[in-house]
Structures are given as C-alpha cells and as structure tokens.
Symmetry: C2
Subunit: 403 residues, 2 copies
C-alpha cells in the first residue's frame, strides 16, 4: 500500500495540471470528492462572477442586456463548447433546455424527416432518460424500438450495432461513455456503420463532454446532446447543449416551436417560421443565469487543452484500477469498468453487495462517490479538480468501510 | 404638470410598500426602469445568496444536496408560488423548463386526453410563443386552430370566447393579461364558459403572476403556465412554472418523458412509469441555479401581500394614464390599454409612429421602457421596485423625447 501512496504522490508531483486544483471552491469536511462526473465543483471565482452579473449585466444594463449580449449567448456558448471540447465547427451547437428536452427535440426531428423508416435503435442499458424519451417518441410515431444488448462492462461495440441496424432504422441513439461502466464507444466506427444503412446517429455526450476529446465533425456525426453540469461544472441543472450537423439544417425540424427559435424573434408574426441554422433548435427564453458558471470551466479546459485533461483522466483511472487490484479485489469487490484506459471515460465503477451501506458511511465521513442501484459505486474523477492522492484516498476509504 | 408631480409625490408618501424600493440593486445611470414586466430587477441581497449557494449548497454539500434539498425544490417552489400568487393549493404547481416547453407539454397532454375533440381555440393576438406552440401541436394531432379576435385594447371578453368554442373544442389557450394592451381577462367567467362546452382551459400567466392575485383553484382552472423572470424577478431565462389541477393528475400525460418525471427516479428501470401528482410534468434535471433569485422576491411579495402589490399596481398605472392624458395625448400619442384599472394588469401601452426612435433615445438616457413593434411603448411598472415619481418621470421623458 505504501507503494500506492508513493505512486500517487509521484503522479501528482509530475501533473502538468496540478496548478488548477486550487481553482475550485474548497469543501470543508470533504477529503475526497469522487462525483465530478455527476456534479462538477464550482470555481473559486464564481461568486465574484455572479455578483458582477447581478450588479451590472442584469441589475444595471437590465433589459438592454438582451440586445447587448444575451440573445446570442446560446449560440456563442455553443460554439465555444464545440471548439473547446467537441471538435465542432461554429454554427452547429447551441445551449438550451435540459438534456431530456433536447433529446426529445432531436429524436422527433430525426424520425419525422424519415417517415419511410420504422425503427429507433437504442441500447438497453442506456441512461434512463434516453430510453424513456425514445420509448415516448416511438409510441408517438408508431415506430419500433430495437434494442442493442452489449456486454455490460465492455459497452457497445460496432458489431453490436451492426447486428441490429437495418434499412428500416431511422435513428440510432447511444451514449459516448456509458454512465454505469464508463465504457467509451468507438464514435467513428459506429457512426460509419449506422450511416451505411442510411440511418442518422445521435450521440449522448453527457459523460464524455469536457473529459474526452470528441471529433463530431470529423466523425460525421449527425446529432448530439450533452449536459454541462458534470465535467463542464455548470452547476446543478445548468442547461444542456445540442449539436446538429450543418448538413441537416433546414431539413430537420424540431417540434417545440417557440418564439426564440423563430426567424424574426421580435416581429411577433402570425405564423411560425423557423430561424435558419442552429437557432431553430431553441424554443423558449434562454436560461442565461444557468450559462454563467460553465464559462469559467471552459476557460480552464481551453487553457489546459482537452487532450491534457484526457491524459490526466487516464492516469487517474489507471491509478484507481491498480488500487482496486491491490486493495479491493481481495475483499470480493468486482471491477465493472474496462481495464484499458483507452476504452473507458472519466469514471471507474466497482460493485459489492454492501455498497449501499458503504456509500452512506463514506458520505457521512466526507468521502463522496456516487452510488448506483443496486450495488455499484462510481468513482468519478474530474481531472482538473482531482489529485491522484485524493482519488487513492477514496479507494482506500472504500476498503476501510468494507473491512 | 406640477400637479402631476405633486400627486406622484403624495402617492409615494402614502405608499405602504415604499420601504421595499430599497430592496433592489441600484442601477447607476438609470432614472426610470419601466420594463419590470419583461425583466424584474435583482434583489440587493442576491449576490450574497448566490455566494452562499456556491460555497455551501453546491461547493461543500456537493452531490449530497440533491438528496438534501434539490430533488424537492421544483415542487416546493411551485407550492410556494401557488400559495403566494396563484391561489393554488399545494401539489399542483411545479417549476421547470421554459414557458414554451411547458406550454407544449400541457397542450399536448390536454389534446391527447380528448381525441374526439378536434379544435384548439386561441386568440389571434396572443403572445407568439403560445400561438406558435399551438400551431405546432395542432399540426401534430391533425387539429384545427380556431381564432378569437377580440378588440385589441379591451382584450378577450367572455362573449368573444363563447362565439368560438363548441363541443368540438379540446382546449382554449388565453393570456390572463395581454402582453400588448395589458388587458386583464375575466378568468372565472371565461373558464366557466369554456367548461360549459366540456373543453379544458389553459391560462398563460406570464404577465400577471406576481402582480395580480389569481385564484386558480377557486376559478376551477384546468391548466396554467407562467414565467418567473418578470414580476417574480427570477433573472434572465429563469425557469417557468406549470399548474395542473389535481383532478387531472393521472389522466393527462405529457409527452417528454424523462427520468426526473419517473415514479422512481433512481431505479433506472426498464420502462417509463410516470410519477404521481405534479412531478410527472417534470422531464429533465431541475434548473436549480435558476430557481434561486425568485425566492427572495417571493419573500417580499408574501411579506407585502399580493393584494397590496395589486393595489399599488393600480395607483401606478392610474398615474400613468392621467399623465398620458395631460402630457402625451396632446402630442398625438394613443392609449393602447384599458382606461379602467380593474380591467388592466401591471403595464400601460401607448402608441406613436416615432416610438422606435424615441425608445432608442430614452434607453441611451437611462429611461428604459419596452418597445413593441411597430410603434408601441410599454410602460411596465413593477410595484415593489417602482415609485410613482419614477413612473411619472418615465412618461415625462417620453414627452420630452417627442417634442
């Protein structure tokens, strides 16, 4: 075990991103925060940023700020996320709504554009909201849901997808990183396989955005959604983003037609005419306050580079897997994530029948992983806010709570 | 004119709510803010509230806050809005999404529950997003839109509604206060007339919530939506609220089925089973940050009472109408709002061909009304943050910009 501690300290001593650890708000009483994959930590300068917003942008410029800055914020911030984290050229990404609402809009748009195709393909272990929305959209359109059943640890492989897609498939919906196992899907190969059948591909990036460099344009992805409160640290319930590849603009039409997605917002015209480009995927008034916190984190990621973030994510999860092997496997804990860092995202999942109780103990003691029913603990390691020592401390605390 | 000034000062001297004027952030350079009906002003203590939230609830409690407080925030805050401003018993109001998205969900739920009825009735001058959503929902369900065409100043009367509704009507969608004229609709009489045909009634409360006491339960209203960034001062793009009368729970089903509206959110079950009660109308992760600012304003309204807010709203708009008569009518300005305070909400609209230019001048000079295409100026008077002297100053500034 002292080897592990030495190893963690060595990794921290050589961590090129270590200076950023101080950028986050301190959490008194918390010795290991291992849930950055559910809720990223706030930046230290956020209270000042919020106060300036309240005093100036909102409190003094008042309604004038809509003209001066807020009307374009959803697309400007979308472009920024696209550039920093998604490999998406400008004009294809917008911040709006929640992941669930954006999934609904994009799924509806995709199936409505292909009335001759009768299937939606989705993975049976996909995040519930993805499955629930797909189930609802399929019912509305009289479509059939076809299920991919991958290995629960390895996650979806291109062969799993090929076994289910056909010329009847309208849309395939998959998560880039599995919310349970952390398995990382091969975006390019799967998107290519889907396109060979003529179907559209919708990626859920909730568990990869901000921690995995993604190349949406280069992979030819059609549609993507993701949330901003995990690795983008936007705060609880901050709005989601949608990516719609430019080749589909004007061809796909989303169903929630509101004033903010209209061509001329203030014309107050008689009939809805959608805006051109990505704006059409907005419905209501943009959630401006919820768009502030993520901006500081995007600054940090841009400064560090998403590639460096990914590199640290690998050393963090490798350390956790090594500590698992040495300290947890002997206690009967199961590894529920891929062993190869290239095949997983930013979290490592482990299983044990006592983990519901263990999580309660850990939370009370200030070690905060994420519990997933029925017996999983996710160790989520947000690279910019987590040291190797902290990650190791979390694993050892799990061990101590078990013995 | 000196009479007007004296009158305004007398009203301020006897204003029981005058002490609350200091509760709002100062706006340097702004001598009259007359757009509280578009974007309410932030409270002075909001930066502290946000800082405490960032340090404690988010930054220190971290993911634990979902269990400790955030999961119930949408319904607790909904109940609070219901109690303070809507005349709605607990369990029927929820904060979520945007007005547009909630309009979509409720309209879809309402028409899907009555497949034998073929019409949606809406007013031709209703706010664009209401009309655009209705247009989209009607197209999805193969329904007919029937238009009410009221007098543009007096607004929708019960006779206008009776002339259009029939046993074919599934749903009537109207605004409680007209966003242009400020005309206040007779909620009880219109809801009764709609119910006589067996249709459902959906009220848009965006321009009345927080300034007009509303009695949703007593009026037997079926459905309502509203925004929180006008008279509830929730900040730009703060989330909206939906009211669904308890008698419809379990019978109306909204289409965007997400994990946060499921019966057991963390079961991650196979198929979507909606939560009971109002929770079912939630879809995605609640926008927690956007729910903070309105809480301070709800405190203020509760302390002052919504009836006292309404009383001051009447003296404010009466003063503006009197000043209009004396100072603006002689210059050819038209009054586009009802003359009787009992028949209007919190804003007064005036018209003149030069108002696009006038608004630019006023904004640059720190007098901030709202311009509405093609030639309207709305003078929105949020009672808790606006003095009579400020309202009068705004009218006189309009006069000075015209001559």
């Amino acid at each position: 075990m002292s080897d592990l501690v030495t190893h963690a300290h060595t990794l921290d001593a050589h961590d090129p991103l270590a200076a950023h650890l101080d950028a986050f708000v301190e959490a008194p009483g918390v010795s290991a925060y291992l849930d950055g994959n559910s809720l990223g930590r706030p930046l230290r300068d956020l209270p000042e940023r919020l106060a300036a917003f309240v005093q100036n942008d909102w409190g003094t410029r008042l309604i004038r700020s809509w003209d001066e800055q807020w009307m374009d914020l959803p697309t400007e911030l979308g472009d920024r996320i696209g550039r920093v984290a998604l490999g998406a050229a400008a004009g294809q990404t917008v911040v709006a709504d929640s992941t669930t609402v954006l999934l609904y809009k994009l799924m509806r748009a995709a199936v409505a554009a292909q009335p001759e195709r009768t299937d939606i393909v989705i993975e049976e272990g996909n995040f519930p909201t993805d499955r629930f929305v797909a189930e609802g959209v399929a019912a509305e359109h009289g479509l059939t849901l076809r299920w991919i059943s991958p290995d629960p640890i390895a996650g979806v492989q291109v062969s799993d997808v090929k076994a289910v897609v056909s010329e009847k498939t309208a849309l395939v919906v998959l998560s880039h990183v599995d919310y349970r196992s952390g398995a990382l899907a091969d975006m390019k190969a799967i998107t290519d396989a889907v396109h060979k059948t003529g179907a559209l591909m919708l990626w859920d990036l909730c568990h990869s955005v901000g921690v995995i460099p993604t190349e949406l344009d280069a992979c030819g992805v059609d549609l993507a959604v993701g949330c901003t409160y995990k690795y983008l640290n936007g705060g609880p319930g901050s709005p989601a983003f949608a990516y719609v590849n430019a080749r589909h603009h004007g061809l796909l039409r989303q169903p929630i037609q509101g004033w903010m997605g209209a061509g001329d917002v203030f014309a107050m015209g008689d009939a809805y005419a959608p805006a051109s480009g990505i704006r059409q995927f907005i419905s209501g008034t943009p959630p401006v306050l919820g768009m502030l916190a993520m901006q500081g984190m995007l600054d940090l990621i841009e400064e560090a580079s998403i590639e460096a973030v990914r590199a640290k994510s690998k050393t963090l999860t490798d350390l956790v897997v090594r500590a698992f092997d040495e300290e947890l496997a002997p206690l009967g804990v199961r590894l529920l994530s891929p062993r190869d860092a290239a095949e997983r995202g930013g979290h490592v999942t482990i299983g044990h029948p006592d983990f519901a109780e263990v999580t309660k103990t850990l939370w009370a003691d200030g070690v905060i992983p994420d519990f997933r029913f029925p017996d999983g603990i996710r160790l989520g390691l947000s690279p910019l806010s987590t040291s190797h020592a902290e990650a190791l401390h979390g694993v050892l605390a799990v061990r101590d709570a078990l013995v």
